[in-house]
């Protein structure tokens, strides 16, 4: 492994760029990795990390969407992988965030999958490799060796489905290092599922591998880990390479601010709303104290929504224990990294997933677990899962817009209530036309099917449905996910305007911190199913970044040191 130390870089990227359907996700990325180097790759969700890995690993998703720009060199030779097999053959190993192990197989079988040690036999001689028997003992030895390299003790005969997640992660890595020629190892958040001790063991093992000449690219959201472990750090933001510096030149705080910060041009773009929010915030200086005496805001005193010890069992977005308050007329943001539980909060309040805890709406208790209860309290919800929950794709727009209002409030019906009523399709269509005009929904008319619209217009339909309910509290998840910049601004402006005109309390959950800061009065950052902190939107970017990384305490320590 370590023989081929050549002067040229092990891996060199030049001007890598990638566009998905006109949506630019990577822009002019160039860097190189030397043998034995450990490189930390950092970026928010959607910064382009996964796309970069997919390009390097030759994932078919890249090729099928028109390939990528720029060039990749390995040992100075240009390469262009069109399948993961080619990348593997070139010595690139990858450990994905999701495990790709066969649950019913043992550790040995998983580590040596497709590279089994074979016995010689007559059958093999006659019919080729496929009918050869396995040399189980040799396989066990090899698996043992790979596992031992990592410095952990896992039985080679243990079935993967019975392993704790930490073990599975080690098996994944063991599989990659068992390949004799692996020279470059990509690890996508390998420590996310590990306990602290396990993470330390893993990092020690990786350092050992690096000393043997394997280059490692390490993706993690744990900043202190990256800083302690990597030689060099690369930060991606919005598809651009922001910084490429030795790790010891960067402080954790600096990394956080580089990761979430936006360039000046965009700041100008968002300047006005931020100022607006600031001025409003001055009236309510410390947001976490709603009882702070302030004469001006007396009418806003009563919290519109008070959440205490909420837990939500939403797969992938588990909420453990969340408490917060939202004032009437406030725009409240919930941010945080994917999978930390931010989406679970609104979904739990609306009763879409099993939940518990106390939720009070305008002082009155809300019974969870039934969407009907929340809707009856004049709350409306725009789901993050637009196509799955948010829309009737096979039904016309007027259905989509008026359905909830019809079911919950008996609007758009003709006839005698409780006896016989049929839907008033004329009223439905005119309501739909009203929103098509107001939100500039591009469609052929109220009778077009929702599934035929583009993502941005579908999002507007979802908003229209919520507005048609005339809610007092509006919960919106990922309002701008997957829509283009023009539609994004229109959606955000609409929300602002709606908030201003109707004094509606709006709770926005979004992965895009900058978007939250531009529209919200206060932003709560969720980490690990709990609220890491609530900050006014005007708080500096790095504070948000540090909250996201669960690092508030370290930052304080650092400040003391400095």
């Amino acid at each position: 492994m370590s023989e081929n130390v050549i002067n040229t870089s092990l891996l060199r990227l030049e001007h890598i760029g990638k566009e998905f359907y006109g949506n630019r996700v990577l822009n002019d990325i160039s860097f190189s990795i030397e043998a034995g180097e450990i490189l930390g790759l950092i970026g928010e969700n959607g910064a382009g990390k996964s796309t970069l890995l997919n390009i390097l690993f030759g994932m078919p998703v890249i090729n099928s969407t028109g390939g990528h720009e720029g060039r990749i060199y390995i040992d100075g030779q240009p390469v262009n992988f069109t399948s993961p097999q080619q990348a593997l053959a070139a010595g690139i190993g990858m450990v994905h965030q999701e495990f790709s192990l066969i649950p019913g197989f043992t550790a040995t079988e998983n580590i040596l999958l497709n590279r089994e040690v074979l016995n010689g036999s007559l059958l093999r001689y006659l019919f080729g490799k496929r009918l050869a028997t396995l040399d189980r003992e040799a396989m066990r030895q090899r698996a043992m060796k790979a596992i031992n390299t990592l410095g952990v003790h896992i039985s080679t005969d243990m079935v993967v489905s019975e392993m704790p997640v930490g073990y599975k992660q080690f098996i994944e890595i063991a599989r990659e290092i068992d390949r004799k020629h692996t020279r470059l190892l990509f690890l996508d958040e390998p420590t996310a599922v590990l306990t602290e001790t396990e993470a330390e063991i893993l990092i020690t093992a990786l350092k050992k591998l690096a000393r043997e000449g394997i280059a490692i690219v390490f993706i993690s959201h744990r900043l202190e880990e990256i800083k302690a472990f990597c030689n060099r750090i690369i930060i991606l933001r919005d598809g651009n390479l922001i910084t490429d510096q030795p790790a010891n030149e960067l402080s954790t705080k600096r990394i956080a601010s580089l990761m979430v910060g936006r360039n000046n041009e965009q700041k100008d773009f968002y300047a006005e709303p931020i100022k607006l929010d600031k001025s409003e915030d001055k009236d309510e200086p410390d947001t976490s104290a709603p009882d702070s005496p302030d004469a001006k805001k007396k009418k806003k005193k009563k919290p519109a929504l008070k959440v205490e010890n909420l837990w939500v069992d939403m797969p992938g977005e588990t909420v453990l224990d969340v408490s917060f308050e939202v004032m009437r007329g406030e725009i409240f943001g919930i941010g945080g990294l994917a999978g930390q539980g931010k989406l679970g909060i609104p979904n739990g309040i609306m009763g879409l997933y099993p939940a518990g805890g106390k939720v009070r709406v305008f002082g009155k208790k809300l019974h969870l677990n039934k969407p009907r209860n929340a809707l009856n309290r004049e709350m409306a919800f725009v789901s993050e899962d637009r196509r799955g929950v948010g829309l009737l794709l096979d039904e016309p727009l007027d259905w989509n817009i008026t359905f909830t209002a019809m079911q919950m409030q008996g609007k758009f019906l003709l006839g005698i209530p409780h006896i016989f009523q049929i839907r008033n399709e004329i009223a439905m269509a005119s309501e739909a036309r009203k929103y098509i005009k107001a939100l500039d929904i591009k469609c052929t008319g109220p009778s077009q099917k929702a599934g035929e619209l583009s993502g941005g217009n579908q999002q507007k339909v979802c908003l229209a449905r919520a507005f048609a309910l005339e809610p007092n509290i509006l919960l919106i998840c990922e309002p701008t996910r997957g829509i283009d910049i023009g539609a994004k601004n229109l959606v955000l402006d609409t929300l602002r305007q709606y908030n201003k005109e109707h004094n509606t309390t709006i709770i926005i959950t979004s992965s895009e911190l900058e978007e939250l800061r531009s529209i919200c009065n206060r932003v709560a950052i969720v980490g690990g199913g709990k609220i890491a902190g609530v900050l006014p939107a005007s708080a500096p970017a790095e504070d948000f970044g540090l909250l996201m990384m669960g690092q508030m305490r370290q930052q304080e320590n650092e400040n003391e040191e400095a």
């Binding site: 009907r372 929950v389 359905f403 909830t404 079911q407 008996g410 049929i422």
Partner: protein
């Protein structure tokens, strides 16, 4: 414009429609009476249309095609047999009511005159509660097997038919027109409705047109039409009922639950309840449908009779252009007409064309072939 029409109607309907048209055109040349054929087609359409209509609620609510139609049919059979069993008692009861509540128009004369209609109505009225209870249980079952409704529904149909095979023998029916003569108990396989409600709808307001039109010396048109207006009106009424129901708040919620259950749930709709209601409706329509079928067919067919009723109904609505989760009244009308049309015309035309008597074989090939064709056309909208 033609392209537009083709896109709207869909190729399967155009192909089958053209084939049916060809059969009607061929018919006179091979000695098959055009008008008799047309008449038969219309009668068969009327007989089957309510059974096909029974597919709509379940399809719309996302429960798939109602392969469990035999369950509804069994409820209909119970209603029909009980109506015959207690025919005299029902008339007596009505007479008692008339005297007790002094309803002047409800005289013995009136009852004797409308005995058949009362028998028909009581069959439906008795069948509905049975259908509602069976449908409710069937709906509860389907809610537990979301995603596999059609497979489970098929077996619900099969097993209910088998169960009733035992029940028909053991139930203590006494009416001499219905039980086995030699044993003295147990229901016969076929029970005539003659004298009860035979052709009650067919003959109501029926338009009879019988004339020989002489066009020339050699060509005489033998027009022999008997349009079963009453049956068509009854279907129209049922269709209107379904159409209106699907437009109510509940019907809208049902459609949304079928279109996207998650959306419906997030909008405060109780999806399971909507599905159960749809299954109950489908089952009730199936029960009413078989009674309409019987009055035209002339016989109540017990035992394995209901077994073969689901597939033609399913095939009809699919031929009519419905998908597994979207169906309209128009799909029912078009599909039933095409299916029954082909089924009526093919055997008679082919028989005359090839001078053989294999109408039964052809009928089986055509009906099963069309079912197969319709099921391969099955689409998810």
């Amino acid at each position: 414009m033609i392209k537009n029409f083709i896109a709207k109607a869909g190729w399967p309907r155009i192909i089958i429609g053209l084939f049916l048209l060809a059969l009607f055109i061929t018919a006179p040349f091979v000695g098959v009476n055009f008008f008799t054929s047309l008449n038969n087609t219309i009668v068969r359409f009327g007989m089957n249309s309510v059974l096909v209509l029974a597919m709509i609620p379940m399809i719309q609510a996302g429960c798939g095609l109602n392969f469990g139609l035999p369950l509804g049919i069994i409820a209909g059979l119970l209603g029909a047999t009980l109506s015959i069993e207690f025919n005299e008692k029902i008339l007596e009861l009505l007479l008692q009511c008339a005297t007790q509540y002094k309803i002047s128009w409800l005289t013995e004369e009136f009852l004797t005159l409308h005995r058949e209609a009362i028998g028909f109505a009581s069959a439906i009225i008795i069948a509905i509660p049975f259908a509602a209870v069976l449908g409710w249980l069937y709906g509860k079952l389907l809610n537990r097997v979301k995603g596999d409704e059609m497979m489970i529904a098929t077996y619900v149909g099969f097993s209910s038919v088998s169960f009733m095979c035992i029940a028909w023998l053991l139930l203590p029916y006494k009416h001499p027109t219905m039980i086995w003569g030699y044993a003295g108990h147990g229901l016969r396989t076929t029970i005539s409705v003659d004298g009860y409600w035979l052709h009650i709808l067919n003959d109501w307001l029926a338009i009879n047109f019988k004339e020989d039109i002489v066009l020339s010396d050699s060509l005489t048109l033998n027009v022999n039409l008997s349009i079963p207006t009453g049956m068509l009106i009854f279907f129209a009424a049922m269709a209107l009922f379904v159409w209106l129901f699907m437009r109510t708040k509940t019907g809208t919620a049902m459609t949304a639950a079928g279109s996207n259950p998650e959306f419906a749930r997030a909008s405060g709709v109780n999806v399971d309840k909507m599905r159960t209601i749809s299954v109950v409706m489908s089952t009730i329509l199936g029960a009413v449908g078989i009674i309409v079928y019987q009055q035209s067919f002339g016989f109540i067919q017990l035992y394995m009779g209901p077994f073969y009723m689901a597939l033609p109904a399913v095939a009809s609505i699919l031929l009519g252009g419905a998908s597994v989760n979207k169906a309209t009244i128009l799909n029912v009308i078009v599909g039933t007409f095409l299916f029954q049309g082909i089924l009526t015309m093919t055997p008679s035309v082919f028989n005359s064309l090839f001078q053989t008597d294999m109408s039964e074989v052809i009928r089986l090939i055509v009906s099963n072939g069309m079912i197969l064709y319709a099921l391969t056309r099955k689409v998810r909208a």
